[in-house]
């Protein structure tokens, strides 16, 4: 049993406790979902369970946490690793070896298991997880879903009784995430392993849960069976009904047009005779499975990648001869990782970097900075180091560094990835506001609900081509993931 007894924790260097007076008991065999908005202390709670708090993160603690009777305060996480395993958010940063077999062995080597034992567990797990075909593969070549599965297998190899997962699906596409959650459910039912999982998109894991714990500002405010909590969760906006907010008038001019694009990485064809016309003030969403070429397509629109055949026409001009940088004041691009946009000392300087690169007249700087910070609701962070902002705020800060150039077209690669419901809503209303001001948006996403509520048009990328997707079918898909098992 994991038992937290009036546990309070304050990270070193901050005045406000991240966990306040938390008491929680998790018994063996449970499947617990931990929910709450960004910054409510979910991740901190996870780290308190396996001793990363206080051993890895210094800070002030009151109360106690024990795992099977062992106080975490006196037992370092490495010693607890055989009882309680942890899977982190980013699959990239929790795998340390270069091939699958070695990765699974890593934890077992740390437990000093015998070689025979390790080989038998690797064999067993790799068939259970269907990992044999990746055995000798180079880990960086695996897809996100495969990596996350491997991370889980590597933790399971240590045979822990409890597994804590901190948003393990936030970097995965919808289909892969659902498969991953189904798999966790199987582990829980078949092997009786206790699962404690943090999950943003409650809809998709609701049917597996037998217990939900809701946190707010470092406290546990609700704890119970899904059925009992449905109403409260709806009230909090964690499970929402649909509302269409955006309507398309559909007769404005074409601002961006891709014509018969072909593209391949080596032998692998990614885009084939793909065409797309985007009209002014549209919000076009592109969906499709992982690795189908969505990001590749986006990179063609502003010349980051050049097609093997076909052309891209921006505001009536072929962009073949233009560099990406020279197009930046017409078409803005936000890649998947906002951190790639943030490196200056303050947010203001970050925006100035863009203005300087675009050679914008100094007299316009103040007005433009004020405008973008206002639109993105970041005015209070002018003098803050952008990397200190929360995940949702960083996404907006990165977007600010793009829209400060006032492009007419925005290209966004998964703008809602890893964002919780509230931050997603905020992002959506920002896109709506920008649309009002005349901006056109093309975005790639896995988030059907976001698409259903905000896109004016949805296209599906499959086998190198785009096909229109009726909005109704998207709404059905988004609703389909909400079903509660009685």
């Amino acid at each position: 049993m994991i038992r937290m007894d009036r546990f309070t924790f304050t990270y070193g260097g901050t005045g406000k406790p991240s966990l306040r007076d938390v008491s929680l008991e998790v018994r063996e065999g449970e499947f617990v979902i931990l929910v709450g908005s960004s910054g409510c202390g979910k991740s901190t709670l996870c780290r308190a369970m396996n001793g990363l708090i206080p051993h890895f993160y210094g800070g002030n603690i009151e109360g106690s946490v024990s795992v099977d009777g062992q106080e975490t305060r006196h037992t370092p996480p490495a010693k607890l690793a055989g009882i309680i395993g942890m899977v982190f958010q980013d699959p990239e940063n929790q795998l340390v070896m270069t091939n699958v077999e070695n990765e699974m062995a890593f934890g077992m080597e740390n437990l000093a298991l015998s070689r025979e034992e390790m080989h038998s567990r690797v064999a067993q797990l790799s068939s259970y997880f269907d990992l044999q075909r990746f055995f000798k593969r180079f880990i960086p070549e695996l897809s996100g879903g495969e990596k996350q599965k491997l991370a889980l297998a590597s933790v399971l190899a240590m045979r822990p009784k409890y597994i804590v997962l901190d948003e393990p699906t936030s970097q995965l596409d919808e289909e892969t995430a659902v498969l991953f959650l189904d798999f966790l459910n199987r582990l829980n039912r078949e092997q009786g392993i206790t699962i404690i999982i943090v999950e943003h998109r409650l809809e998709r894991c609701l049917r597996h849960a037998r217990r939900i714990v809701l946190m707010e500002e470092g406290r546990i405010i609700l704890d119970g069976k899904p059925k009992e909590l449905m109403l409260a969760l709806k009230e909090k906006g964690l499970i929402a009904d649909f509302s269409r907010k955006t309507q398309d008038d559909g007769n404005s001019s074409v601002v961006l047009s891709a014509q018969s694009l072909d593209f391949a990485y080596g032998e692998t064809k990614i885009l084939q005779d793909l065409s797309l016309d985007v009209r002014s003030q549209e919000i076009v969403a592109i969906v499709g499975a992982n690795g189908c070429g969505k990001s590749t397509l986006l990179k063609h629109l502003n010349g980051l990648l050049r097609p093997k055949a076909g052309k891209v026409v921006l505001m009536g001009k072929d962009i073949e001869k233009a560099t990406t940088a020279s197009l930046a004041n017409q078409i803005g691009y936000l890649g998947q990782n906002p951190n790639n946009y943030l490196f200056e000392e303050t947010l203001t300087k970050e925006l100035e970097f863009t203005l300087r690169s675009l050679s914008i007249d100094h007299r316009q700087w103040k007005e433009r900075i004020d405008w973008s910070l206002k639109v993105l609701d970041l005015e209070r962070y002018r003098e803050v180091f952008p990397r200190d902002l929360s995940c949702g705020e960083r996404e907006r800060a990165a977007l600010a560094s793009v829209i400060v150039g006032k492009p007419r077209i925005l290209v966004l690669d998964e703008p809602t990835r890893g964002l919780d419901y509230r931050n997603k809503e905020k992002m959506a209303s920002i896109l709506d506001a920008l649309r009002e001001q005349g901006m056109t948006t093309i975005l790639v996403t896995h988030d059907y609900r976001f698409v259903a509520e905000h896109a004016t048009r949805v296209m599906k990328l499959e086998e190198g081509r785009l096909a229109d997707m009726p909005l109704d079918s998207i709404i059905d898909l988004a609703k389909g993931s909400i079903c509660v098992e009685a």
Binding site: A112, A328, N340
Partner: protein, 290 residues
């Protein structure tokens, strides 16, 4: 796919072999290339090393590596000729005297360089980084950790830097305009986010390793470190070439002072000495069985 490891995943006798004899071979060749200056010796060693590369099926990769070495060799020649010493003038261009001494010296130096590069490519193209790590990890757990993360993260960081460049381009930074210096200057801001990302990443990796029990107790090893007799023999023979070469070098075999007037002469003893040294290396060509 972006650039991953330089390691070439081929199925060859050399690849199948344990990493240790290969490391021994590379070390021995490295040492000899530093020690020996005689052109005949170096040329024979180079020919042999190329043979190893061919058996390992990584000739093409090695040649592309040597392409850059050719430039360096060209520089070597140019400098030796410009600052020429010696009195045996072959011909004169304007006021520059091209002497036999300088030509021989530059040839010897270039051969050394080529030999070192070819030996290096045996190491990089045929020894899997994981195996290299396992060998190195015997020198201590900490160094292994650092190295392992570095190799594992290399492709990630390479991809990261590509994405950051894309982000910068999309914010109006020109990377491909102007001369070399302008291009290099434009790339400077990429370093900052790259460094910050890597720092964040290293914290996360450390945390994940801790959570998987790293450092709690003495580790065991998943792989059987057994090395076959044949591989052992290959390793010891390659290592034996070093003291053998050194002893004969002290006796004057393989030691040529071209700037001091040595000429390109090959005695029958030289041939014998080279033959024995190459013979010590030859078993590596047999490699490991299927």
């Amino acid at each position: 796919m972006p650039l991953l490891f330089p390691y070439q995943d081929k199925d060859s006798r050399i690849h199948r072999m344990d990493a240790r004899p290969k490391i021994a071979f590379v070390l021995a060749i490295f040492m000899l290339s530093i020690l020996i200056s005689d052109i005949f010796y170096l040329a024979v060693f180079l020919a042999f090393a190329m043979l190893v590369v061919m058996v390992a099926k990584v000739l093409r990769a090695t040649l592309s590596l040597l392409k850059y070495t050719v430039y360096v060799a060209a520089f070597l020649f140019l400098f030796s000729i410009l600052f020429s010493q010696g009195s045996t003038v072959i011909f004169t261009i304007w006021i520059i005297q091209v002497t036999q001494e300088s030509i021989l010296f530059a040839t010897s130096m270039s051969l050394r360089l080529f030999l070192a590069i070819v030996a290096f490519s045996v190491l990089t193209f045929t020894v899997h980084p994981d195996d290299l790590l396992k060998i190195l990890s015997r020198f201590g757990v900490k160094s292994m950790t650092v190295l392992s993360i570095a190799t594992r993260m290399y492709p990630t960081i390479a991809a990261d830097s590509g994405n950051i460049e894309d982000a910068m381009k999309a914010r109006g930074v020109e990377f491909d305009k102007g001369n070399f210096i302008a291009k290099a200057k434009a790339r400077a801001p990429v370093m900052m986010p790259l460094l910050l990302n890597s720092m964040d990443r290293s914290m996360e990796v450390a945390e994940a390793m801790e959570a998987r029990g790293f450092g709690a107790r003495r580790r065991t090893s998943y792989y059987d470190p057994v090395i076959s007799r044949r591989e052992k023999a290959i390793m010891y023979l390659a290592l034996a070439a070093v003291p053998f070469g050194l002893a004969l070098f002290i006796l004057g075999y393989g030691n040529a002072n071209y700037l001091g007037g040595s000429t390109l002469t090959v005695s029958s003893t030289d041939v014998l000495v080279v033959a024995v040294e190459v013979l010590l290396f030859t078993p590596i060509l047999l490699g490991a069985k299927k």
